[in-house]
């Protein structure tokens, strides 16, 4: 069986890596990672805006942001994919490629989830930080920009990275609307071989595991680093205090 798996990889590694590119659309791991990176990168600024709206004093901003978060949290990702897939072409009056559909879906979905991470990060800061900023005469937006958000986002880095890991796994659902990502590539191989589904999907699972595990390890490392930095007195300060 192991031999079977190795021969599948050696015969299909290019398909798993980049799909049918350059003869067809980019696929495989490359497409999976691009979907995830684009999804998170575009969702992140959106999530900061949603978070700010969620904690705004004005109900006009608060209500729609809250509604969006609750709806997205309460609906399976697959439903959102279908909505975007069927609704966007109707609204735009044009064909939307699968890849773009998937990126839009991920931005909506991850934007809502990340916004809760950002909101928690803002609200976890001591109230004294905002007090100090306001007492010095900073406006609310400026206090957010220079004092609150830099701290909150730094503290939230591990949570954001872990959201990125779930995004990688969520891209598998692109398969249902024929986005040629990694799962799609594996399924193509399986359809061709017909008799080796266990090996093919084992390879698929292992590939996801390796990518996600390395990112998890990076998250843990980052968490430790942040904890050390926060723990305070650097060796120099201790020496000076003692001397």
């Amino acid at each position: 069986m192991l031999q079977g798996a190795i021969s599948i990889v050696s015969e299909n590694w290019l398909l798993l890596l980049v799909g049918q590119y350059p003869n067809g659309p980019l696929g495989g791991i490359a497409a999976t990672l691009m979907l995830s990176v684009l999804g998170i990168a575009l969702a992140f600024p959106l999530s900061v805006l949603i978070a700010l709206a969620r904690i705004s004093r004005w109900p006009l901003l608060r209500a729609p942001a809250t509604a969006l978060v609750y709806v997205v949290r309460g609906v399976p990702l697959l439903m959102i994919i279908f909505w975007v897939y069927f609704l966007f072409p109707l609204l735009l009056g044009a064909n939307v490629p699968g890849f773009a559909t998937m990126v839009c879906t991920l931005v909506i979905y991850e934007g809502a989830f990340l916004s809760e991470v950002v909101r928690a990060g803002i609200q976890a800061l001591p109230a004294g930080q905002m007090d100090a900023a306001r007492a010095l005469g900073h406006s609310y937006p400026r206090a957010m920009r220079y004092i609150i958000l830099p701290q909150a986002l730094y503290n939230m880095l591990p949570a954001i990275l872990s959201q990125f890991i779930s995004t990688i796994k969520e891209t598998t659902l692109g398969y249902v609307i024929n986005v040629p990502e990694l799962t799609f590539a594996a399924n193509q191989i399986n359809n061709r071989l017909l008799t080796k589904p266990f090996e093919v999907f084992l390879i698929l699972a292992l590939t996801y595991y390796v990518v996600c595990y390395s990112l998890s390890a990076a998250t843990t490392w980052l968490e430790r680093r942040i904890a050390t930095r926060r723990a305070g007195p650097a060796p120099l300060a201790v020496m000076e205090a003692a001397g």
């Binding site: 004294g128 306001r134 010095l136 005469g137 406006s139 926060r230 120099l236």
Partner: protein, 244 residues
């Protein structure tokens, strides 16, 4: 310079501030004391409107801080009132120097180089020029509070408010912070200071306000207040404080 006119504030049904009428003259140092929960911190936080009031007015340089005004006007007013917190509230992601530079640069539009020069001069004044690039987590409590004072002074406010500036400090660090505040008093800064440091109050204050249950029960010179307090509540408070 700071005048309270019939100030009232409620927390639910509890009067946090009741019928406050008092004034801090230019160049005057007022120490506000009283048991915990008496409204001292609430009172000082209403001066720059970190706390709202229910009724009355608080005039700063003749202007009612609690009047209806745009947020830009309020920010302008606040930038002219230095505030020092019990828990320092330095910005932990910025070095001591950048903590001080940020507000003159971003709020008052002072150039970065000029803001930096001013910040270095202030760090020197509070005795921390050698720690300019340290982050708050690398500083002791006393050092953090001195940076916080420098940060407030960087806006060149005509008045400073201190909300229990030494209560969160280890005893051996209280002196260094009080020395800085004492220096400010000698330079003629108008100040309101909530504190339990009675020897400091004796040395530095021009007047003491004694508060209990949201009211100012007694005001007087430190000698009069500490020597012969009139109000029974003040007598009890002082004897409790001395028996500690």
């Amino acid at each position: 310079m700071i005048r309270f006119e019939n100030v009232n504030k409620l927390y639910g049904d509890y009067p946090a501030l009741a019928d406050i009428n008092a004034e801090v003259a230019r160049g005057e140092v007022v120490v506000v004391c009283g048991p915990s929960g008496s409204g001292k911190s609430t009172l000082i936080r209403t001066v720059n409107r970190l706390e709202e009031i229910r009724s009355g007015a608080i005039l700063f340089e003749g202007r009612n801080v609690h009047a209806k005004m745009s947020s830009a006007e309020l920010n302008k007013l606040r930038s002219r009132i230095g505030f020092v917190f019990q828990s320092f509230n330095l910005f932990p992601h910025l070095s001591a120097l950048d903590n001080i530079i940020l507000s003159p640069h971003r709020v008052n539009g002072l150039g970065r180089a000029a803001a930096r020069d001013r910040a270095m001069a202030l760090l020197d004044r509070v005795g921390l020029a050698n720690r300019a690039h340290a982050f708050p987590a690398q500083l002791s409590g006393g050092q953090q509070q001195r940076v916080a004072i420098a940060r407030a002074l960087a806006m060149e406010p005509p008045a400073m408010l201190f909300d229990e500036p030494t209560s969160a400090l280890d005893p051996e660090m209280v002196g260094e912070v009080l020395a800085v505040i004492r220096g400010l008093a000698q330079d003629g800064m108008t100040m309101m200071c909530v504190t339990h440091e009675m020897s400091f109050a004796r040395d530095v204050a021009d007047r003491v306000w004694f508060m209990d249950a949201g009211r100012i029960l007694e005001t007087g010179t430190p000698d009069a207040f500490f020597g012969a307090p009139q109000h029974p509540r003040a007598q009890r408070f002082l004897s409790d404080l001395r028996s500690r």
